[in-house]
């Protein structure tokens, strides 16, 4: 009876408690409820899931999420949990701007990370600058965003065309030959890349045998391949991207042109190589990273990544996802050492920041004058199917270049950074 009554009362108590709880949860304004918990730091992820860069965009995102989850596991930053809001930027500037606007206005993000196409990165960095929102360009390799289009709030984490070309120059001459021929994809990226290539090949005294423009939408390269064959270069440098590159490789392979000369595709993201498959992904290229590198921390990072993304299309970290990971991780670290999310302080914390555990031989540096992350590069070539340990083990590093050699010197920088005063205060 007593027990019974006791039990009853307890149940009654429980009921009321639950009832009140539910009531509060239901009617109580959620802002109030949220205020009880420590306000989370919200990071907006702008990664393509549709459009040209869909694959890379998703790889990028995997890296970021992994980094965020690791910090949350350690109890977040400044004791605050980290939330992320993702928007598909669709490789489309208009969409990207709209979605970024939504992240800023509605989701009240504190920071924004993510870009592959320079067409998306540029407007996003402008938008960010106007709000004072710190924006990390994780994977776009256009060099304009750290020159004419540089912004105070904008940090660029991938190596750019100039660096790739600059790194390639000596390596090509040393390893492959001096007579070179160039194919240029006839749009902005291609022409920038070729400009950089030419500049740097001149520096090392290589001899240009000729250039062919590849219009967008080109599917048939027989004429170009013919021209190359008759020019007899030792090196063919192809600044050709997207489906055109795929088609070019197809036919070069079909016509046996891949044996005519050493083919160099200056910059190449791993997801694109996967699309291509080892057989047709012949030739040399430049890259920032691959999980097969034998450097401190790589193994552990790779394990963690594999564990988290076992079911992903590309279950191993590559140059894209590692960029996303490192960028995010360093942002959170910067917040930690700034002790606030106030943009000015975080920017100060970032400028000049040196990243030692970047899974590479040499540390990277966030260069204060153009916000480019100066980092080392590798000259690599695609492995033959026989040499591959597993499906993803496609890349064989041949040589490497130290950051200070690879990155453009301040003297040639075209960046006129806004002053802090000219950058609206955001967050904190």
């Amino acid at each position: 009876m007593d027990e019974n009554g006791y039990r009853v009362t307890r149940r009654a108590l429980l009921k009321t408690a639950v009832g009140i709880g539910a009531g509060v949860g239901f009617i109580g304004p959620w802002r109030w409820a949220r205020a009880q918990a420590k306000k989370p730091i919200v990071i907006g992820l702008t990664c393509d899931a549709t459009g040209t860069f869909a694959d890379s965009g998703q790889a990028d995102r995997r890296g970021m999420i992994l980094a965020i989850e690791e910090f949350n596991a350690k109890g977040g930053v400044l004791g605050r949990p980290i939330e992320h809001k993702w928007e598909d930027t669709e490789t489309d500037a208009s969409v990207a701007v709209r979605k970024a606007q939504r992240l800023i206005e509605r989701d009240k993000i504190d920071f924004m990370i993510g870009a592959l196409s320079s067409g998306v990165a540029a407007p996003l960095s402008e938008l960010a600058q106007r709000h004072g929102l710190i924006y990390f360009n994780s994977n776009s390799s256009a060099d304009t965003v750290t020159n004419e289009k540089c912004q105070r709030v904008n940090f660029v984490w991938d190596a750019n065309n100039w660096m790739f070309a600059n790194a390639l120059g000596p390596l090509v001459v040393k390893n492959l030959g001096t007579k070179w021929f160039i194919l240029t994809h006839d749009y902005v990226w291609g022409k920038n890349a070729t400009g950089a290539t030419r500049e740097n090949m001149k520096k090392v005294g290589a001899e240009e045998l000729g250039e062919l423009m590849v219009p967008q939408g080109t599917r048939d390269f027989s004429a170009q391949l013919l021209r190359i064959r008759s020019a007899k270069p030792q090196v063919v440098i192809a600044n050709v991207a997207g489906i055109e590159q795929t088609a070019l490789r197809e036919q070069a392979y079909e016509f046996g042109s891949d044996k005519d000369a050493a083919w160099v595709f200056p910059q190449q993201d791993f997801p694109d190589m996967v699309t291509l498959g080892a057989k047709k992904a012949f030739g040399y290229f430049c890259t920032t990273w691959h999980y097969t590198l034998n450097e401190p921390g790589v193994k552990e990072f790779t394990e963690r990544f594999k564990k988290r993304w076992a079911s992903a299309p590309i279950p191993v970290p590559d140059n894209v996802s590692s960029n996303g990971y490192i960028a995010t991780r360093e942002l959170l670290r910067a917040i930690e050492c700034a002790g606030t999310t106030r943009n000015h302080d975080v920017i100060k914390a970032l400028e000049g920041h040196v990243i030692k555990d970047n899974f590479r031989k040499y540390p990277s540096t966030v260069r204060p004058w153009d916000h480019l992350v100066g980092q080392m590069l590798y000259l690599a070539k695609t492995k033959k199917e026989g040499e591959m340990k597993e499906k993803w083990d496609m890349i064989q590093m041949i040589a490497d270049v130290a950051p200070d050699v690879a990155a453009p010197p301040q003297s040639i920088s075209k960046c006129k950074m806004q002053s802090m005063a000219d950058t609206p205060v955001y967050g904190g």
């Binding site: 080109t218 013919l226 997207g242 079909e254």
Partner: protein, 291 residues
Amino acid sequence: MPDLAELVTQLLNGVVLGLLYALIALGFMLILGTMEIINFSHGVLFALGGYSALALGPHVGWWGALLLAPVIVGGVGLLLELGVRRTYGRDPLFGLLFTFGAALALEEIIRIVWGPRGYTVSAPAFVAGPFHLGFLFYSRYRVLVAVLAVLLLGLVWAFLERSPYGAMIKAGAHDHEMVRALGINLTRLRSLVFALGAAMAGVAGVIAAPMWSLKPTVGAEAVMPAFIVVVIGGIGSFSGAVIAGLLLGLTSGLSNLLVPRGSILVMYLLMTAVLLWRPRGLRGQKSMLEL
């Protein structure tokens, strides 16, 4: 300066391309002429052809795919027609918009099934690699493409000129009474034509896939030349389509050689020029589509 070998190569490419364009355009024009519907989904049906070939190839081989893919795409066409049907006789805009919507949906379906990335389709083994003709080498597969295209064009021509259906199709939208008088079920005729047009897009897609490789948006790249071919050739003219196709192909071939950057734009300039010279296109008759 381009040498002879390149000139020849590009001219050959031009012809191959032109025949392909003509093929794509004809399927498009069948529907346009018969039902006065601008079938915007023509491009994505083309893509669908390529993708289904990609999927079928390993199982039924390339020839099998060449035969099966059009059937599949034709089927999709039949389904589409069930919706398009409701726009007949209404403002032409509705047919256009319906197929436009269909194009978006189908493209997204392709994206869901095959992913956003591009695929390369390898040519059947027996035509892999190039011919080596001393001073130039030319892709065997392209020769095959040309042959197939000519064959198919011939078939279509025979169908239009020699079969009873041809007459009805040509009478088409402009003279329903006549069609009825001939005692044909107009509804069935229209479904047939739509399926046929779709199938032609599909087969073109199969043929083109190894040359152009596949990505979800490949359809858009294919359908615009078709539009231009129709505008240049004149609506409802078989010969017009073939002539315009070849004209377009050669133009883009040559411009590829001389002004690579403008090679796509040149097509449109050509179109504008033709329109200025002959407002109805090369072989177009005055129709109720204009003043």
